[in-house]
Amino acid sequence: MDDLIYTLKQQIIEALNLEDMKPEDIDENAALFGEGLGLDSIDALELIVLMEKNYGIKLKDPNQGKEIFKSVSVMADYISKNRTK
C-alpha cells in the first residue's frame, strides 16, 4: 500500500503539474480539496483521467470523485480494490 501511495503522489504531481512539489510534501491523510492542497473541480477531472489511464478505473459521474478523492490514502484504497490494470 505504501508503494501505491508513493506512486500515486508522483502521478498526482505530474497530472496536476504541481511545480516544485515532491511526494513527501503531500500528506496522504490530508484533504486534497478545499482546505488541504486546495484543488478544484478541474483537478478532480484530471484525477479521473489519471485513474483511467494508470489503473483502468472509469468513473462516469464526476460526483463519484467527491468520496474517492478525499485524500491520497482514500484514493489509494479505492484504486487497490477496483483497479483493472
Binding site: A15, E19, L37, S41, L45
Partner: protein
C-alpha cells in the same frame, strides 16, 4: 420560426463530424462543407473553413434582409465572434502541418480572425472588421461592440454576430470536462445532466435610427440595452450565486432605463449543465426579487452553438418580439431545486422587452435587452439577421472628457522584462525566432495557481500586476485583451493528444486553457474584478481592437480606467507551422512573442489617482484612435486628417511615425511607401526588429512609443533610416499599424 413555434428540435445523431463519439446528440447544420460552397458559388478547391462557410450563408441572408448591397459595405463594419475559428481543418491536418508539406495552405486559416476575414472577403471590403473571442458569449459581445461603435458615431451600420462549427477539438474538450449529456439536453430540469453541442451562425444588422430613417429601412427590433460583466470566479464554472450573470442583466436594464418588472421574457443561457442552470437561476431570482418573468432556454432546439449562441438566440428573441410568442423550453418536466420553472408549453404572448443571456467560460457574461420595434427607446434599430434582420437606433454620444492617459505599460520580451532600462541598449538577436526572457514568476504567482498556467498566462499576470502597480490604481473598470492565437502551447498539447492518442483520456486542463479569453478572465479572477471583460482575436490588429474597445467606452463615459493587454506565445513546433504556412518569418522577419499590459485612465480618474499618489506621472496621452479594413490611400488620408483634427492637431505637430515593418521585404517596401505618401518626410520608426513579429506585436509598439514620450527621446535603434536619426524631443507620435495589407490602425500619442 416554424420549428420554434412547433417545438421541432434540430438536435439529433451525429451525421457530419467525423468522430468516435457517436453517443452524444448534437445540433449540426444539415449541410456538408461542399454543399455550402455550392450554395455560395465558391470553388471546390478554395481554402475555406466550416465556420467561415456558415458565416457567409448567414451574412448573405442578413445583407439581403436588411436591404444592403455590396457597394454600401465600405461604410459598414463587420464584427464576428468565434473561438473555434479554423480548428475543423487544423484538427484534420495537424500532423501534416508538422510532418509534411500537405495541406499547408490551411495553416493561415487556423486563427479566429482568418475566419472573419474569409467571411467578409466573400462580400467585399468593409469599413472595419474584427473578431471577438469570449468563448460562448462571443457573438453577444460582438453585438455590444457594434452598438458602442454606433453610439460613438464611428459608424451608422455595423453587422454583428458570430459563427461556430462543431469540431472534434471542442466536442472532446467538453467531454473531458464531463459536461456533455448523452441524452437530449434538459435545461432547468431536475434531471439535467449536461449540454448538447450545436453549430451555426447568425448576424444582425445594427443601424442608427437616423440612418435607418434616411434609408427607409424598417427596424425589426430595438437593442435598448446591454451589459457585460465578469463572474471572476473560475475558468470553467459559474459562481453559485451567479454574480456575473446578475451584474450583466442589471447593467442591461440600467442602460435601457427600464425596470425588472418591464421584462416580458428571458432567453436564458440555460446550457443544461447542473452548474450553469443553478447559477443562472440564482441570478434571475435575485434580479427579479423572486418574481422572474417567463424564461426558456432554446438550446434544446439548436444545441449549444457556443460562440454563435449569443446572436442566434438574439434572432430568436427578435422573432418572439415580432410574432408575440414565448419560445418553449423543450425536454423539461421536473422542477430543479432552487431553480426557475421555464416555459414548458408554447404560448402566444405580446412581448415588449426581452432579455437574452450569453455566458462564456472564464465568467464572460453578457446580456442583451431587445425591445419591440415600435417601442420608442433610446438605442439602435436592429436590422438583424441570419434568419431575419432589424435596425436599432442609437443616439450619437458627446463625451464629458476628451483626454485619456496611458498611466503605465509593462512588457515581457527578449528585452529585459518588466523594466525600461533595456531601451538604452537593446538586445539584437540573430535567431529565426525570438524567445522571451521570463522574470521569476514566483514573485507574482503562487505554485498552486501556477499549476494550470502556460507561459502566456504567467506573462499576462506578471505584466498586468506590474502595470497596475505602476499606475497607482487599485482596480480598473475594464479588462480587455487582444491575442492572435491565444494559449497556443495548450492548444498544441490538446491537438497533439487528439491526433496521436485519439479521442480518449484527454486532459481537461489543456482544453480549458485553449480558449482565447482565458487570459482576460484569469486577470479578472486574480484581481476579483467583476467589470467589463472581453477578448479580441483578429490577426495583427488583435491588440488594436482591444485598445479601440477601451477608447470607445472612454468616449461613451462607460469606463474611467482599463487594463488593456496584448499577448501571444510561440513554441518551437508552432514556429515551424507558421513558417510553413507563410504566416511569418520571411526574409529578415523573426517570429516573436508578445506580452504587454497597459493601464489607461480618463483625465478625471487620473486626477483622483494623483490625490493619493502625487508622484504618479502618466507615460503619455492617448489622443486618437482609428481602425480600417483594406482602406484606399484616400480613405487613409481622410482618416488621418479627421483624427488629427479631432485631437486639435495637424500633421505638422506629429514628430515621428512608428511603423510595424518587420523584415518581410516585399511587405515592408509597400508599407514604407504608404507611410511616405501619407506622412511625407516625417522620420519613420520601427520596433519589431527588437521583439520579433507576432499578432499582438502592435501592443509592444504602443509600449515603445509611450516610453519614448515619457523619456523625451527616441533611441537610435528605432530609426528606420539612419539618415533620419534625430535628437528631436518627441511630443507627438503617430502609430501606423498595417497588418497584412488588410487592416490598418492609427494611434495618436502625445506627451
Amino acid at each position: 420560426m416554424e420549428a420554434l413555434l412547433n417545438g421541432r428540435s434540430g438536435v439529433g445523431l451525429l451525421q457530419y463530424l467525423k468522430t468516435g463519439h457517436k453517443e452524444f446528440p448534437v445540433g449540426e447544420v444539415k449541410l456538408t462543407d461542399a454543399e455550402m460552397r455550392a450554395r455560395l458559388g465558391i470553388a471546390d478547391d478554395a481554402i475555406t473553413t466550416r465556420t467561415a462557410l456558415m458565416g457567409m450563408l448567414a451574412l448573405e441572408e442578413a445583407l439581403q434582409d436588411a436591404g444592403l448591397t455590396t457597394d454600401m459595405l465600405p461604410k459598414i463594419g463587420f464584427i464576428s465572434g468565434t473561438t473555434v475559428g479554423g480548428m475543423d481543418m487544423s484538427e484534420q491536418f495537424y500532423l501534416d502541418y508538422i510532418n509534411s508539406e500537405a495541406h499547408k495552405e490551411y495553416i493561415a486559416a487556423h486563427d479566429c480572425g482568418s475566419c472573419t476575414e474569409m467571411t467578409a472577403r466573400h462580400f467585399g471590403k468593409f469599413a472595419f472588421v474584427t473578431t471577438l473571442s469570449t468563448a460562448c458569449s462571443s457573438a453577444a459581445n460582438a453585438i455590444i461592440l457594434g452598438a458602442n461603435m454606433i453610439r460613438c458615431g464611428e459608424a451608422d451600420i455595423v453587422i454583428v454576430g458570430g459563427s461556430e462549427c462543431i469540431t472534434k477539438f471542442h466536442l472532446n474538450g467538453f467531454n473531458s470536462l464531463m459536461i456533455l449529456d448523452t441524452e437530449p439536453c434538459r435545461p432547468f430540469d431536475a434531471t439535467r445532466n449536461g449540454l448538447n453541442l450545436g453549430e451555426g451562425a447568425a448576424y444582425l444588422v445594427l443601424e442608427s435610427e437616423e440612418s435607418a430613417k434616411k434609408r427607409g429601412a424598417k427596424a425589426q427590433a430595438l437593442l435598448s440595452g446591454y451589459g457585460n460583466a465578469c463572474d471572476a470566479f473560475h475558468q470553467t464554472a459559474s459562481s453559485p450565486e451567479g454574480e456575473g450573470a446578475y451584474l450583466a442583466m442589471k447593467e442591461a436594464l440600467e442602460l435601457a432605463e427600464i425596470q425588472p418588472s418591464d421584462i416580458d421574457y428571458i432567453n436564458a443561457h440555460g446550457t443544461g449543465t447542473p452548474n450553469n442552470d443553478t447559477s443562472e437561476s440564482q441570478a434571475m431570482i435575485r434580479l427579479f426579487d423572486g418574481k422572474v418573468p417567463p424564461v426558456s432556454s432554446t438550446k434544446p432546439f439548436t444545441g449549444h452553438t457556443t460562440s454563435a449562441s449569443g446572436s442566434i438566440e438574439a434572432v430568436f428573441c427578435v422573432l418572439a418580439l415580432q410574432n408575440g410568442f414565448l419560445p418553449v423550453n423543450l425536454n423539461w418536466s421536473q422542477p430543479m431545486e432552487n431553480g426557475i420553472v421555464p416555459v414548458s408549453q408554447p404560448s402566444k404572448k405580446a412581448l415588449k422587452h426581452v432579455l437574452c443571456n450569453a455566458f462564456g467560460f472564464g465568467g464572460n457574461d453578457s446580456s442583451l435587452l431587445l425591445s419591440k420595434a415600435e417601442t420608442s427607446r433610446r438605442f439602435d434599430g436592429l436590422n438583424d439577421h441570419a434568419k431575419a434582420p432589424e435596425p436599432v437606433e442609437v443616439p450619437t454620444h458627446t463625451t464629458a472628457s476628451t483626454t485619456w492617459y496611458i498611466l503605465s505599460a509593462k512588457q515581457i520580451s527578449l528585452q529585459q522584462p518588466l523594466s525600461e532600462d533595456w531601451m538604452q541598449e537593446p538586445v539584437i538577436y540573430d535567431e529565426p525566432f525570438v524567445r522571451s526572457i521570463d522574470p521569476n514568476f514566483k514573485n507574482y504567482i503562487s505554485p498552486i495557481e501556477a499549476r494550470r498556467m502556460g507561459k502566456i498566462l504567467k506573462r499576462a499576470v506578471a505584466t498586468s500586476k506590474e502595470a497596475l502597480n505602476a499606475s497607482g490604481l487599485d482596480t480598473v473598470d475594464a479588462i480587455i485583451t487582444g491575442t492572435g492565437y491565444g494559449c497556443i502551447e495548450n492548444t498544441e498539447f490538446f491537438l497533439d493528444a487528439l491526433s496521436t492518442e485519439g479521442e480518449q483520456l484527454l486532459k481537461p486542463t489543456y482544453f480549458m486553457q485553449s480558449t482565447h479569453n482565458t487570459i482576460s478572465s484569469l486577470m479578472a479572477i486574480q484581481t476579483k474584478n467583476h467589470g467589463y471583460n472581453v477578448t479580441y482575436a483578429h490577426k495583427g490588429i488583435s491588440f488594436d481592437s482591444a485598445l479601440q474597445d477601451a477608447w470607445l467606452q472612454f468616449k461613451l463615459g462607460k469606463i474611467n480606467s482599463a487594463l488593456v493587454g496584448g499577448h501571444d506565445e510561440l513554441t518551437e513546433t508552432f514556429y515551424h507551422i507558421l513558417k510553413k504556412g507563410g504566416m511569418m518569418g520571411k526574409d529578415d522577419e523573426r517570429c516573436g512573442e508578445a506580452a504587454v499590459s497597459v493601464v489607461l485612465a480618463s483625465a478625471s480618474h487620473y486626477k483622483e489617482v494623483r490625490r493619493s499618489h502625487p508622484e504618479m506621472k502618466p507615460l503619455c496621452k492617448l489622443s486618437g484612435f482609428e481602425m480600417l479594413h483594406q482602406p484606399s490611400m484616400n480613405a487613409l488620408r481622410d482618416v488621418v486628417a479627421k483624427m488629427l483634427q479631432s485631437a486639435g492637431k495637424s500633421l505638422a505637430d506629429v514628430d515621428y511615425i512608428l511603423t510595424g515593418i518587420s523584415g518581410d521585404h516585399g511587405n515592408d517596401a509597400a508599407y514604407l511607401q504608404e507611410a511616405k505618401t501619407l506622412f511625407g518626410d516625417k522620420p519613420l520608426l520601427k520596433y519589431k526588429h527588437l521583439f520579433g513579429e507576432s499578432f499582438t506585436a502592435s501592443g509592444l509598439g504602443l509600449y515603445v512609443a509611450a516610453q519614448c514620450l515619457k523619456a523625451g527621446r527616441v533611441p537610435f535603434s528605432l530609426f528606420v533610416d539612419s539618415k533620419e536619426v534625430s535628437d528631436r524631443q518627441p511630443k507627438c507620435i503617430l502609430l501606423y499599424n498595417r497588418s497584412d495589407g488588410k487592416n490598418c490602425s492609427l494611434t495618436l500619442l502625445e506627451d
